[in-house]
């Protein structure tokens, strides 16, 4: 395949992955978006408003932080891209700011979104409050129970949270419910997808909104080191939006290794995993052709990861293509690896990372690093939302935590 790794074809293909496998009921909406998204996004008044909000509301640029003690431990040079410092606590808002402005320009007066852990739901509810637009967030019934603080945040921000009661009652089903809701009310509603998944043009649109991450990385690294290019960029991948953003402006730089870290859950072959590139086959999920975790009969499997944000049985088509072509290197970290990385990051750098982001940090242990390497890890979110899990992990582990302090 000769198609770009960065930008899809007109029909939304990255190599053999992508497309728009949607029922006719959604065609007018998706087609309207496909025809207009690039024009809208690159229109000067849009860019002006978008950049202004990223700066004054989100708090961009986020710092590129030289992680001195982590670097020392791994005997290399490590920078953390601090997406955890974005308003609402993760990179998700880069995309929701962009999409709410697109929705306004398309004349939509209602927003729907899906959410797993609630980060994208909170980021969507936030921009809807900012713009005074009605917001309905679909969330798996199980996730609503597990993520009470984020449910409360969305409600405080004025959103209606609708429990997805179908299937396994988690992110996959919340996405199904959001798509069904869109089918039932297509005309005035815009669906803000939270990752680089879904029918074309969503993967490309979301990747472009998130690409601000790598745009800043390049400029910041140049300022710090004189060179724009790191040797490695590491990011965690569920659907893959922070990875898409962190990789975007490095994809065409062959010297930069792109390391995507999937959630292995209890282990790749444990039956409790979310490592889609390792376990998935070519299939169709949520409107795009990509790698999908499924049974031999083509029923989609419910994955497992300790991190709700990576707990997804698919992966964005851009990433499937990076995997398939070998341009990206795909690693995985187990629940335990990630938890260890959480405490490592806390104790060495004074930063409590989100469980998702900790998967990226956990990859360091598996890599053959050189002293001369320059590594950027995308620290996609902060750990506040995971505090209950962390508190649970500390019970009985106090001793271990103390021991690891002098690292």
């Amino acid at each position: 395949m000769t198609t770009s790794h960065k930008e899809p074809t007109e029909q939304g293909y990255y190599g053999k992955f992508g497309g728009a496998f949607i029922p006719e009921m959604l065609y007018p909406n998706v087609e309207e978006l496909r025809q207009q998204y690039l024009e809208i996004m690159y229109e000067p008044s849009f860019q002006k408003e978008f950049q202004q909000l990223l700066k004054d509301y989100v708090g961009r640029p986020t710092p590129l932080f030289y992680a001195e003690r982590l670097s020392k431990k791994y005997n290399t040079t490590i920078y953390l891209k601090r997406e955890d410092l974005c308003h609402t606590g993760a990179h998700k808002i880069n995309n929701t700011i962009g999409q709410i402005l697109v929705a306004q320009r398309l004349g939509k007066n209602k927003i729907i979104a899906e959410t797993g852990a609630g980060q994208h739901g909170v980021a969507t509810a936030t921009v809807c409050a900012l713009k005074g637009i009605e917001c309905v967030v679909y969330m798996g019934e199980k996730d609503i129970e597990r993520q009470a603080p984020n449910v409360a945040r969305m409600k405080m921000l004025g959103a209606t949270v609708v429990p997805a009661k179908s299937g396994s009652k988690t992110l996959k089903d919340a996405t199904n419910e959001a798509i069904r809701a869109w089918i039932n009310e297509p005309k005035d509603t815009h669906y803000i997808i939270g990752s680089v998944v879904g029918p074309h043009p969503y993967p490309d649109m979301v990747a472009r909104f998130q690409s601000v991450i790598s745009e800043e990385m390049r400029a910041q690294l140049k300022e710090k080191t004189g060179s724009e290019l790191p040797t490695h960029v590491i990011a965690c991948v569920g659907g893959g939006s922070n990875a898409a953003g962190a990789f975007y402006h490095f994809i065409d730089e062959p010297s930069v290794k792109l390391i995507a870290v999937e959630a292995a859950g209890h282990g790749i072959n444990s039956g409790m995993s979310a490592a889609t590139t390792q376990l998935g086959r070519l299939g169709i999920l949520h409107g795009s052709k990509s790698l999908v975790m499924q049974t031999a009969d083509g029923q989609v499997i419910e994955p497992h990861s300790i991190s709700a944000g990576l707990d997804y049985p698919g992966i964005g088509p851009m990433h499937a293509h990076l995997f398939d072509s070998g341009r990206g290197e795909f690693l995985s970290a187990t629940d335990d690896d990630a938890m260890e990385a959480v405490f490592e990051c806390c104790q060495l750098e004074g930063i409590i990372p989100a469980l998702e982001s900790a998967h990226a940090i956990a990859a360091l242990k598996q890599m053959d690093l050189k002293q001369t390497d320059k590594i950027i890890i995308c620290l996609s979110g902060r750990g506040d939302k995971d505090l209950a899990t962390y508190m649970h992990a500390m019970e009985g582990k106090d001793e271990l935590t103390q021991k690891s302090r002098p690292l």
Binding site: Q11, G19, A20, F21, I22, P23, E24, M25, Y27, P28, S166, G167, K172, N176, I179, R180, I183, N184, P186, K187, R281, L282, G283, I284, L285, H286, G287, V292, Q294, A296, D297, G298, Q299, V300
Partner: protein
């Protein structure tokens, strides 16, 4: 001549297509349901191939799919059940489902098996026209399986004409932009059906989504060739034991 074409040659109004999920209510009830539908006077049987993530379906059909999957229904099992169906079933039978399970089975292998057991047509709402033209049209034509496209009140005339040209069997006119089983008024949609009628399409038009009883069936048939019932029939099956008598009562209720 295909069974579907043959049917519409003989009968071009009030055609009743009834949907049931294969393997629902029991794994082995598929043929029993089909026989009951044929005996009760349904004109077309539409069998749903259950899928874990059926985007175009409402709660009732989703739930029946969940039951069927739990019962052990797969494409392979279904073809095995349908192997000898043409000894009993004379009316057209179409399969409805989603692309992913078929891709795993192998699209060509699927079409070949479908033809072998006597399937007449296929409804896969998540194959868009672009993909149909580039990937699937040739295979379907080769095995002479009709492919039925969906149109909605929002579909442009240009696109309806394209669906009419590319598709065969009939056009599935979704009564309103919705998932299956939503109660939007059929009578309000008459201008849309009249518009479809005025286009003088090559294929007959059947209306689906929101048809549940005699009144909605008659309203749907006023300007079209017939209608499709799914959710209401699944609900009826959920509420009783004897498939044959439930089906008879249900179809009688619809056709009056």
């Amino acid at each position: 001549m295909s069974r579907i074409k043959d049917l519409f040659n003989k009968k071009n109004s009030n055609v009743l297509n009834v949907y049931c999920t294969a393997g629902f209510p029991h794994l082995c009830s598929t043929l029993e349901v089909m026989n009951a539908l044929q005996e009760s006077g349904a004109d077309i049987i539409e069998l749903g191939m259950p899928y874990s993530d059926p985007l175009a379906d409402g709660e009732v059909i989703q739930a029946s799919s969940g039951v069927a999957i739990a019962n052990g229904m797969t494409i392979e099992v279904l073809f095995e059940q349908l192997k000898a169906m043409r000894n009993e079933i004379q009316i057209p039978v179409i399969l409805m489902g989603y692309l992913n399970p078929i891709l795993q089975y192998g699209f060509e292998r699927f079409c070949k098996r479908a033809k072998e057991v006597g399937i007449d047509g296929l409804i896969l709402p998540d194959i868009p026209m672009f993909e149909f033209e580039t990937e699937y049209n040739e295979i379907l034509s080769h095995y002479e399986v009709d492919f039925i496209f969906l149109v909605t009140p929002e579909t442009s005339e240009e696109r309806i004409r394209k669906a009419d040209k590319l598709g065969s069997g009939f056009i599935y006119a979704v009564s309103s932009s919705s998932t299956t089983g939503k109660n939007k008024s059929i009578t309000e949609q008459q201008p849309y059906f009249e518009r479809l009628k005025s286009l003088q399409l090559r294929n007959p038009v059947l209306v689906g989504f929101g048809i549940k009883d005699k009144a909605t069936f008659e309203a749907a048939c006023t300007n079209t060739n017939g209608a499709i019932i799914g959710t209401a029939y699944i609900k009826a099956l959920e509420n009783g034991q004897d498939i044959s008598s439930i089906t008879k009562a249900f179809i009688n209720g619809v056709k009056g």
